[in-house]
């Protein structure tokens, strides 16, 4: 029971982290139609910047400053890279961000080396929030979850309750009309891109201290974030939240399950046959944990191609 509760909570927290990164991605996509391949690289940059600044500014200030720096890089990428190739179409923009993600990952390897760096949370945050039975639950995880939820609420309120939000939403749906009404749509695009990058940077700065900070973190998380965005429906913030939680819980629960397809088939009396077949049949669910999200994505694409909260078709 304890283990179940713990892995449920771990799953929720991991899902919230996924949401922090995918929120920016899905907003950018909904607005500009650009799938930003470099988005997870911004997450990585956030972690590395915070690691570098931690020594000079202390943990909290580093966590605040590094997303701002990442947001600045995002603005530069939009203004000087994406806008230049906009006329070549979305595929071209996707390829360009793909190349940028490559450059960012390789630059990180150049400056910090191709191994994990020692980015940790400060000792003052390293305590248990509560304990259940023999196991303790780290408070830092709760903090990460809290930041993600606060972020969701802020973005949601910003988009639905403020004037800026109205302009942004109108620029998403009818960019030319918004422009005709006198709003500076390119500026809005740049702002959204920078804000999305900053959100990913914040996620990296917070999560990098808990998970490992290494040059591969962008790739590992990036693929998962794409899955989240497709499952949730491109451009939908609520969908991204739902899909993140679903995938987070699913992967963390699967790790704890120590049975295979053969065990399931044994209930129907076909266990012996399945064990003889081997391969996928006898593979434990726990070792399939990394594979499950992709299977879920293919399933969603078959059943509901637009994603959970996306438009149809």
């Amino acid at each position: 029971m304890e283990q179940f509760l713990f892995s449920l909570m771990n799953g929720v927290i991991y899902g919230l982290l996924l949401f922090m990164v995918s929120a920016g991605l899905t907003l950018i996509f909904g607005m500009m139609g650009v799938l930003n391949f470099a988005h997870a690289s911004f997450y990585m940059l956030g972690a590395y910047f915070a690691y570098t600044l931690q020594g000079m500014l202390g943990f909290w200030l580093a966590v605040i400053v590094s997303p701002l720096l990442v947001g600045l890089i995002g603005v530069v990428v939009e203004r000087y890279f994406l806008r230049r190739v906009h006329r070549h179409g979305h595929a071209h923009e996707l390829l360009l961000t793909f190349g940028l993600s490559f450059i960012i990952a390789e630059s990180i390897k150049l400056f910090y080396g191709n191994y994990p760096v020692d980015y940790r949370m400060p000792p003052s945050l390293d305590f248990a929030a509560f304990s259940m039975g023999a196991t303790q639950y780290p408070a830092y995880r709760l903090l990460m979850g809290g930041i993600a939820i606060a972020m969701f609420i802020v973005i949601y309120l910003l988009l639905t309750r403020t004037r800026v939000g109205i302009v942004v939403r109108s620029a998403i749906h009818r960019p030319s009309m918004a422009e005709a009404l006198g709003h500076n749509v390119p500026l809005v695009f740049m702002g959204v891109f920078g804000a999305g990058a900053a959100l990913a940077g914040l996620a990296g700065a917070v999560a990098g201290a808990f998970y490992t900070t290494n040059p591969n973190m962008a790739l590992e998380l990036g693929v998962m974030v794409f899955v989240v965005v497709v499952v949730g429906g491109l451009g939908s913030l609520v969908g991204a939240m739902l899909a993140s939680l679903l995938i987070g819980i699913m992967t963390s629960m699967a790790v704890a399950v120590d049975s295979s397809l053969a065990d399931l088939l044994a209930l129907f009396g076909a266990g012996e046959w399945a064990r003889n077949v081997g391969g996928l049949m006898t593979l434990n669910l726990s070792s399939l944990a990394a594979t499950l999200p992709f299977a879920l994505m293919l399933l969603i694409l078959l059943v509901r191609p637009g994603g959970l909260m996306g438009e149809k078709g």
């Binding site: 360009l96 490559f102 391969g279 992709f294 694409l301």
Partner: protein
Amino acid sequence: MKKTLYCCLAGTLLLAALPLLLSQGLLNAAIQMLIAALFASAYNLLCGQAGMLSFGHAAYFGVGAFATVHAMNAIGGTGLLPTPLMPLAGAVGGLLFGGIAGWFATQRSGTYFAMITLAIAELVHSLAPHLKTIFGGEAGISTMRMPALGLNFGSTTQVYYLTLVWVVVAMALLYLYTRTPLGRLTLGLRENRHRLQFLGYNVHGLSTLVFAISAMFSGIAGGLQVLSNESANYVVFDPSLSAAAVLNTYIGGVQVFLGPAFGAALMTFFGYAISDLTRSWLLYQGILFVLVMMFMPTGLSGLIAIAARLCTRHGLGRVLPVFLLAVASVMLAASGLAFTIELLQRLFSQEYRSLLQTHPDAAWPAVMLLDQPWRPGAPLTWSVPALLLAASLWCYRLCRRRLQMLCVYDEQMAMTAPVTIQHGEDAA
């Protein structure tokens, strides 16, 4: 048309003569270049011709590789399928897996398609290490090239010729494919899907077929890789291989048939030649890719086409200075950039940092680059790349002005030409 054919024949003959000219190590690199060229061409069928951007083509390469390795172990080069025909197993594997994956992936187009292909590749990549019976786990599966048809395939030269024959045949087939009605429809998929649908074609079936064919040729490339390495490991499913296909194809240029092959061969060669000189080859490749995407979307082959057009329009004699200036500018910029990156790489390397930590009070020691010591604090160290880049910019400016002058001169010629005729008429 005939000229192109002769060019291709001459190129093939040159490739066939390579074993006489090259050392064993270079010949191995040539095998890798040929395989990469075939893989990029197969990939280009999907992304360049059909307009479907895939980020997970390593999956089909890998499936082809493992199909071949299992076939080689099972058949052992005897019977109807001797060793030289083994990549056929890779082709079948690629075709089948590509058919299934393509059926899923082509449900959607555009950005969604790209993400689905990525997810399928990751699915295989994350599953492969766990299925030890099929993919052999960490150690992979090894095999032997069994003697067949009087050849023992023991030397690199024989493997090279085998690879060359396969690659030339496969490339010829890929080229002939573009001339068939199906090949024309593939272009239609890229240009206007709705219209094809409206004309009564089964667009989903067609996309799946194109996907499967592209996967089949990727599978052949994977099979050739196995023939040359005599082993396969789940590392072939690594995303970096898919990334390499994308980078190579677009650096080469997707609009010309041989562009991707050219790009892949060039990049593989540089990867081989530079790999012991630098640790940041992938960074250079990424920078080159971004530059190509930003400033010459037609790739390197497009650049050659532009150069050829300039030559025919203005004559070689007058364009030559422009070319020389352009080449000088590129070389200067490349050396300046490479100098900066290599210097930074050495300054931030682990060895240098530990050196700093052992002597915290001493001045920063010099780093070795091009057999010269460079002090990180000295202005000379940083003025070298700055000067190189400035010189490159100057050359670029000069080159651009010359090019503009050429164009203006041409326009003036075009303007004055009718005027002289008018004078003639007046006189008459």
